[in-house]
């Protein structure tokens, strides 16, 4: 099931690759995880055996790359609980559009 373009859920190798990053994000479901992330983000990330590429993607809030490396949106979205960003901004970033154009052209929202 990989023939639908631009839809990472159907790509198993891609999904499996994201396991450690997703586990890191799952840790943010608990107050202790969020406190550790806020106190020393790099030290928190170092607990999860991530690659430098994954660490850079997380620390720079590079949503497109996090998803591209197998991060699942529902999991990495938990980063927005400690460092707020709207889900539509995450969408726009993945598509490579500015936020206003994304709301207008993809979601059909009027100004």
């Amino acid at each position: 099931m990989t023939e639908i373009p631009e839809t990472p859920i159907l790509d198993r190798a891609h999904q499996l690759r994201g396991y450690r990053m997703n586990k890191m994000a799952m840790g943010l479901s608990r107050p202790e995880g969020r406190a550790a992330f806020l106190a020393d983000e790099r030290a928190y990330l170092d607990r999860f055996d991530l690659t430098e590429e994954e660490i850079t993607a997380v620390m720079s809030r590079d949503w497109r790359t996090m998803i591209g490396l197998g991060g699942n949106l529902f999991l990495i979205l938990k980063i927005s609980a400690v460092d707020p960003v709207r889900i539509t901004e995450i969408g726009a970033h993945q598509v490579g559009m500015d936020h206003e154009s994304f709301l207008r052209d993809r979601l059909g929202k009027k100004e």
């Binding site: 099931m1 023939e3 639908i4 373009p5 631009e6 839809t7 990472p8 859920i9 159907l10 198993r12 999904q15 396991y19 997703n22 586990k23 799952m26 943010l28 479901s29 608990r30 107050p31 969020r34 998803i67 699942n72 949106l73 529902f74 999991l75 979205l77 938990k78 927005s80 609980a81 400690v82 889900i87 539509t88 995450i90 969408g91 726009a92 993945q94 598509v95 490579g96 994304f102 993809r106 979601l107 059909g108 929202k109």
Partner: protein, 280 residues
């Protein structure tokens, strides 16, 4: 014997709960969405169901990728809201209907469905939001008990649409064979069109959503025959979860009456649909 008073379908977008938490119910952006549920709220008040069987998915809040049940049935006495990252939402816990849950898992296994049995779990927006939409948020206790059915719609392989329809048929027979006088309502949740991941993010398909809200009543067998790929193509990567409505529909009779229907797009990034069905 227990009775089925009807089936409810609804989206379960987390932003709906967040909008309620932030007091945005009556803002221009949200009012038309919430007002669309008022006739359904009235229907629920009139029907006064005792038990709601809620078919939904956890979004990596109570369950992680380490263990992924395709189907799971909650058999707990109580389900508390889970911490999704912002702390548990300030809504009352949901009382379970454990006696029926055990009857249901017996019935399912005897009919060759083999769900995971869960005796302790918290529930996320997938269950919370539909309950708030149809019952309103109570001050201290929900006026209905819940039986959660968890479906894996996130980690492929997800179940076939036809399998969910058959699960619904088994659920309907389980309710009808339950020795009690409770009134049951079945909730199918999730969808409609949306995609949150990849460069196709922001995909919406309002025409297909409106068609779905007709076909789920009139042509459920046709919808059950679709492939998973067709759901992903038509409703988006995350919108394919709308297959969970087939469980609700399968629990009803082949012919149904549509009491209420509502569509609003977009709620956050999602085409938001609602339907109220009764057995004909």
């Amino acid at each position: 014997m227990a009775t089925i008073v009807g089936g409810l379908g609804t989206s379960h977008v987390p932003s709906i709960g967040a909008a309620l938490d932030k007091g945005l119910r009556d803002t221009p952006e949200w009012k038309p969405f919430f007002d669309g549920y008022l006739p359904a709220r009235e229907w629920v008040r009139e029907q006064r169901p005792d038990v709601a069987v809620v078919v939904f998915n956890d979004h990596f809040n109570a369950l992680f990728l380490d263990r992924v049940p395709t189907f799971a049935v909650g058999c707990a006495a109580e389900y508390h809201p889970v911490d999704e990252g912002w702390g548990p939402r300030a809504i009352p816990p949901f009382a379970g209907a454990a006696d029926f849950s055990w009857h249901l898992v017996d019935h399912l296994v005897e009919n060759r469905f083999d769900p995971e049995i869960i005796q302790e779990i918290r529930v996320d927006h997938g269950l919370q939001v539909p309950m708030e939409l149809f019952w309103g948020r109570p001050a201290d206790a929900w006026p209905v008990k819940v039986v959660p059915i968890f479906v894996n719609v996130l980690q492929y392989p997800i179940p076939l649409p036809i399998r969910l329809y058959e699960l619904g048929q088994a659920l309907g027979r389980a309710i009808e064979s339950y020795d009690g006088d409770e009134r049951f309502v079945v909730l199918g949740t999730g969808g409609l069109s949306h995609q949150l991941q990849g460069s196709r993010a922001g995909f919406l398909n309002p025409a297909a959503d409106r068609r779905f809200l007709v076909d789920i009543a009139e042509n459920p067998a046709e919808l059950a025959s679709w492939s998973r790929q067709k759901y992903v193509e038509t409703f988006g990567g995350e919108g394919a979860e709308v297959i969970m409505w087939l469980v609700m529909r399968g629990a009803l009779t082949p012919e149904v009456v549509v009491r209420h229907r509502h569509y609003f797009s977009p709620a956050s990034m999602t085409g938001a649909g609602m339907i109220v069905l009764e057995n004909a």
